[in-house]
């Protein structure tokens, strides 16, 4: 047996392990609840001068109604912990509950701690803006987090649907 013959199998095994790791989050949702699952998309944006986007990062997590998605944003002088809990009633109305802890180290070295709890009636796919550091009088903000809740689309089922077309 030569090393050259083993390489394709090892590469395939590596790909399988990576794919299993990518789907580890979705596997947390019980199979019977996947049709009720929701995807929570978080988009953190740091604004620069003239209200231009200086930095951004995205992330999507799957959950089911009532189970919070915890997001931690860590910066050099801020630490933000947000719990986003979507709720869906029997009629399909969506409520997003946001609970936040915001720690800010000011320039004088003192720490400020803010906490908030909000409920928002939203539609699926609608963007909700969370300003962890508040907003200026003119409406601007140093940072914002855009949150979108949508129906969860199983990648396997979506792939089968796409293949069937």
């Amino acid at each position: 047996v030569t090393v050259g013959r083993q390489l394709p199998f090892a590469f395939c095994a590596f790909l399988c392990i990576c794919a299993a790791g990518l789907r580890a989050q979705e596997s947390d949702i019980p199979p019977g609840l996947k049709d009720k699952a929701l995807s929570v998309t978080i988009r953190a944006i740091v604004m620069g001068k003239a209200d231009a986007v200086a930095w951004k990062a995205n992330g999507t997590k799957a959950t089911i109604p009532g189970i919070p998605v915890g997001v931690k944003l860590m910066g050099s002088n801020v630490a933000i912990l947000v719990q986003l809990t979507p709720y869906e009633d029997a009629k399909g109305n969506l409520v997003l509950v946001t609970q936040s802890q915001v720690w800010v180290k000011r320039s004088d070295g003192e720490l400020s701690y803010f906490t908030s709890l909000d409920t928002v009636n939203v539609r699926f796919g609608e963007v909700v803006l969370f300003f962890p550091l508040g907003r200026n009088a003119d409406g601007g903000a140093a940072m914002r987090v855009e949150v979108t809740v949508d129906h969860y689309a199983d990648p396997v089922l979506a792939g089968q649907g796409a293949a069937g077309k």
Binding site: G59, S76, S116, L133, G134, M143
Partner: protein, 210 residues
């Protein structure tokens, strides 16, 4: 023994001398002993006198003219001046009566189609309320709590201690985002949540939206 007062229609018939014996005598005895019925008899008798004094119309006189004459006579008896001429048709009589009676004694007369439409509207709204389509107005965003808490000595005073503190919390973190290093962010106030549609939201410019 206390006897029950007779029906007003029976008293009206008694005043018109339409009640036969022996009920007529029994009614007369009751009226003589009952101040309320005696007062009612006097009222009916007065009304009968007024109506009998209305001059008779011709053979072709219609109902509106007869009612107008009766109203005229009653108005003169009560010392009231009626604003409109007495030749108004019957349909306007309740309006004039409403002007002279207290608000809580007024009655409202509606045409049948209007009353039916109002009833249908009430049934429709009741159906909507029962089906849950009508709900009390509630704000889209409810800020249940937002506060700034000044850390004390017992709480972490450095970012390293704060990170350690957050890690020891039971709150599950599914997603960790590292903000750009070197940038110092300042707080403008309490955390705030708004719907993008309510915040004059504009997509960020300068970078790809995806």
């Amino acid at each position: 023994m206390e006897t029950m007062c007779p029906d007003p229609s029976l008293i009206s018939a008694f005043v018109d001398d339409e009640v036969p014996s022996p009920w007529k005598e029994r009614l007369a005895a009751h009226v003589a002993a009952c101040p309320a019925c005696e007062k009612r008899v006097r009222g009916y008798a007065g009304l009968r006198q007024v109506l009998s004094a209305v001059p008779a119309g011709g053979a072709g006189e219609d109902e509106a003219a007869i009612l107008a004459r009766i109203e005229n006579r009653l108005g003169a008896r009560l010392g009231q001046r009626l604003e409109a001429p007495s030749s108004l048709p019957k349909a306007e009589t309740p309006v004039r009566a409403a002007k002279t009676s207290p608000l809580w004694h007024r009655s409202l007369r509606l045409p049948l189609p209007l009353a039916a439409a109002a009833a249908a509207l009430m049934v429709f709204l009741a159906g909507l309320a029962a089906a849950g389509y009508i709900r009390p107005i509630r704000p889209v965003v409810q800020s249940l709590a937002a506060a700034q808490i000044a850390p004390t000595a017992a709480q972490p005073a450095s970012m390293e201690a704060l990170i350690h503190y957050l890690e020891t919390q039971d709150a599950k973190v599914n997603l960790t985002i590292e903000l750009p290093s070197g940038d110092t962010l300042s707080s403008s106030g309490k955390p705030l949540v708004v719907r993008a549609a309510d915040a004059n939201y504009l997509p960020p410019s300068g970078l790809d939206g995806k």
